[in-house]
């Protein structure tokens, strides 16, 4: 009797798009033309741009990289236009532009911009890279915290508040105990406490997750600002002068030219970030825990019917995620600036949320996106020091413009965990 069915056309018909998707090629093309006109043709011939490849303090000094401004910009912008043309060619054949090509385009475009911006001047490439990495740290931890929560189906808008609480706790505990490591331990506890409230209201009482998250952010801002004004400011000597984390150079690795000092002469928080991205990726995609968490975030009823405790999983993940975000907050105080200031997280928690989305809810993607945002932020400060032709107000918009493009789906349609934001109530 089954012979009947075998005659049926089994293979799925290919999904047919009626129109080629021209959004990406057109965007690339327009940006390429801007690069050609503004950077390539807009710069003076005969000028050079200089990049320093070592810190002044490095034992081994590498020679500076000096490139002719106009020539380099022309080559790079033509490369961009070439990629845009190829992308158009692919689109007419109903094929997508590969990710690596878009990435290459991005690097070429940014480099062209950089060469043009520092025309006749010099900037330190290592400083630029190291600064990007450092600025990415809290964003990356915030995004990891978001991955923990959202993969299990809870939207964590409270990352911003958790970063801030972590920063505060780390500063106070490190100042009081005079131990930077105890400060580092206090930060995740502070994030965890906010997570407790988040889980209580969203998982147990099924309150709207966005609203609870926003309220917790307001709570964290209000509480830390009040405590700062009322307690920390009058007693700054004892309560708000934490010791700073010192960079630890990893033997051998830190001697690699350019990348060595950037990646391997860092504080323990940065190394924790490296470990976290590897561990979280493996845990999420290769272990029993990860499979169950993803099932809970995608289809909680299905998880329930195979005996997985949905709400217990969510509780645990919210706690882990909040502690992770809190730990990232320690970077602001004991890892970078050295003292707590009101609202010092400055919206990095929201950027972290965007980084998580741009990174498609994966740890590696989140880190990549965080580095991108870090680079944009660092670029702004580096360029404003140099005094470039672009007004600084426009430059300061850069990281946020990037966020809007990222979240608006410039990178393509992104699909998060299907059950994120939906409380699970048993019938």
């Amino acid at each position: 009797m089954s012979t009947v069915i075998e005659d049926r056309p089994v293979a799925d018909a290919p999904v047919m798009s009626a129109r080629p998707a021209l959004r990406v090629p057109i965007t690339l093309g327009v940006l390429g033309v801007i690069a050609l006109l503004a950077f390539g043709l807009g710069s003076d011939s005969g000028m050079d741009s200089t990049f320093n490849l070592s810190f002044r303090t490095d034992v081994v000094q590498l020679p500076d990289l000096v490139v002719p401004t106009k020539g380099t910009c022309l080559v790079l912008s033509l490369l961009c236009l070439g990629i845009a043309a190829y992308s158009y060619f692919l689109a007419t054949r109903l094929r997508k532009t590969p990710m690596w090509l878009t990435a290459l385009y991005g690097v070429a475009w940014v480099f062209a911009f950089l060469v043009w911006a520092i025309e006749g001047k010099s900037t330190s490439l290592v400083d630029l890279l190291q600064g990007s990495l450092l600025l990415a740290v809290p964003i990356a931890f915030g995004a990891f915290g978001g991955v923990f929560c959202e993969r299990s189906g809870v939207v964590n808008i409270a990352i911003e508040g958790q970063l801030l609480a972590g920063a505060f706790a780390a500063a106070v505990v490190a100042s009081v105990t005079d131990s930077v490591y105890l400060g580092l331990l206090a930060a995740p506890v502070a994030g965890w406490l906010l997570g407790l409230l988040l889980a209580l209201f969203t998982v147990k009482y099924a309150v709207n997750q966005i609203i609870v998250g926003v309220v917790l952010n307001v709570l964290a801002v209000g509480l830390t600002s009040f405590l700062f004004a009322a307690v920390l400011k009058p007693n700054a000597e004892t309560l708000n002068t934490p010791p700073l984390l010192q960079p630890i150079a990893i033997p051998v690795l830190s001697k690699i030219p350019v990348l060595g000092p950037v990646l391997f002469r860092q504080t323990i928080i940065v190394y924790a970030m490296y470990v976290m991205v590897v561990v979280l990726t493996l845990a999420l995609f290769r272990t029993r825990w990860g499979l169950r968490v993803r099932a809970v975030g995608e289809h909680p009823e299905a998880a329930d019917t195979v005996g997985i405790q949905v709400n217990r999983t969510r509780w645990r993940n919210v706690m882990w995620g909040s502690a992770t975000a809190g730990f990232g907050g320690a970077f602001f105080t004991v890892g970078y600036i050295g003292a707590f200031g009101p609202e010092m997280s400055g919206g990095k928690g929201y950027i972290a949320l965007a980084a998580m989305i741009l990174g498609r809810w994966t740890p590696i993607g989140s880190l990549g996106a965080a580095l991108l945002f870090g680079f944009a932020t660092k670029l702004v400060s580096a360029l404003s020091v140099l005094g470039t032709p672009v007004p600084s107000q426009f430059l300061q918009m850069l990281p946020y413009l990037l966020t809007i493009f990222a979240v608006a789906g410039f990178v393509g349609r992104v699909r998060g965990p299907a059950a994120a934001g939906v409380p699970y109530l048993k019938g």
Partner: protein, 520 residues
Amino acid sequence: MLLELRGITKRFGPLVANDHIDLVIEPGQIHALLGENGAGKSTLMNVLFGLYEPDEGEIAVDGSVVGFRGPSDALAAGIGMVHQHFMLVPVFTVAESVMLGHELTKGSFLDLDSARAQVRTLSERFGFDVDPDARIEDLPVGVQQRVEIIKAMARDARVLILDEPTAVLTPQETDELIEIMRQLAAAGTSIVFITHKLREVRAVADVITVIRRGRVVGSAAPTAPETELAAMMVGRAVMLELDKAPAEPGAVALSVRDLLVLDGAGTRVVDGVSFDLARGEILAIAGVQGNGQSELAEAIVGLSTPLRGSILLEGTELVGLSVRDVLDHGVGFVPEDRSHDGLVGDFSVAENLVLDLIFDPRFRSPLGVDLAAVQANATQRIEEYDIRTQGPGQPAGRLSGGNQQKVVVARELSRPLRLFIASQPTRGVDVGSIEFLHRRIVSERDTGTPVIIVSTELDEVSALADRIAVMYRGKIIGVVPGDTPRDVLGLMMAGVPLDDARRQAAENPTTETKLEEGDL
């Protein structure tokens, strides 16, 4: 494994979903649980599976009483369940879905190789041909169901509950499922088969238990005639066959030409569809769920804009008009999902009965809406359609499925129409209401209105249609007369062209057809 349910009672507030139900499931038996939608079958099985805790009563396995506090207890006791809405994570692979909840690990990591091997072994044993690395969302529903069965068997289920398993299948797929059920039963697995379809019960069951309004109302042998089973299920004698006069088609009223509709992702969901519809004729659009039927109906009403093509109703081009304009041209529409698109659940029955009629002069007053007219209209329609409500002021969301649907149909038919379109007019509706709605639709046809019925239920298609258009992957695979045999329609629904379908159906009649013809 002998499974006994003793005096199971489950209440949801004032509603008693299960009222002291006793049930014995013998090893290796196919036990059919027959009842209408809302009779309490699914609730009972969710109690058995540990998803709900019973308020009274007990479950016994091999004579000893067990307490299930969750699905994991039921799974451990050897009870597996294939839910009506599949419990599969769309983005997981088959192997991941099967191992979820009882994962094998190698060190700290998942042992996907063993899971793949297990899927292959089980899939071979039942002749399933399921790829362990395929993603669930890419699989057709029939295959997803097999994954669910593999999932249960991978946990050594000795009792397998199948909740309305045939709702999403073509007749041929149903036939294969029946074969699988027999094979499992022969191997000693007990099967609880929940359904409201009489044909299937008679084709496969060893024992039939009928449930009505939360109570066991009796049991029957599979040889019992359909009318007797239906009467037990509904509680009174029902007419299973709809007697309708032959259609008297008039002039062509609607002509659809080369209609192309894309979905959000750019896929052609309606792909070059053309057909004509005459006055006083019912055209049924048949097909397995998700082959473009719903999208076709939505395009005609104006809910989506076709990329190409034309829809001419009595000489007026409907493409490009707003929904309001289409309705004003005399199109009545019963949407597929009545609780979402057909009604406002919090509005009263009276308000829902005039939802798209408030611009009608009958309900206009100098201030806006003539509330007295709305009220009078409600009283009249409730009477006419036998809508069981506590009154016109009751929120429509509180009505039963059948009565909700009567509200929608009553509203759409309460003005002169040039075209009537009903999507899944009787989905989730009790047998008694089905009878009523079908008669109402036929009488609308008899007044000369052209009617389009979109339905995935072959019984409904056969009962109502004067002509049947079968859709497959967005295309109309053929338009056939209303009395075309089910086997042929089933094959066409799977994409087999009409001539091949006729030949194959003659060569390989399905179990149900054989049963009807007395070959078994």
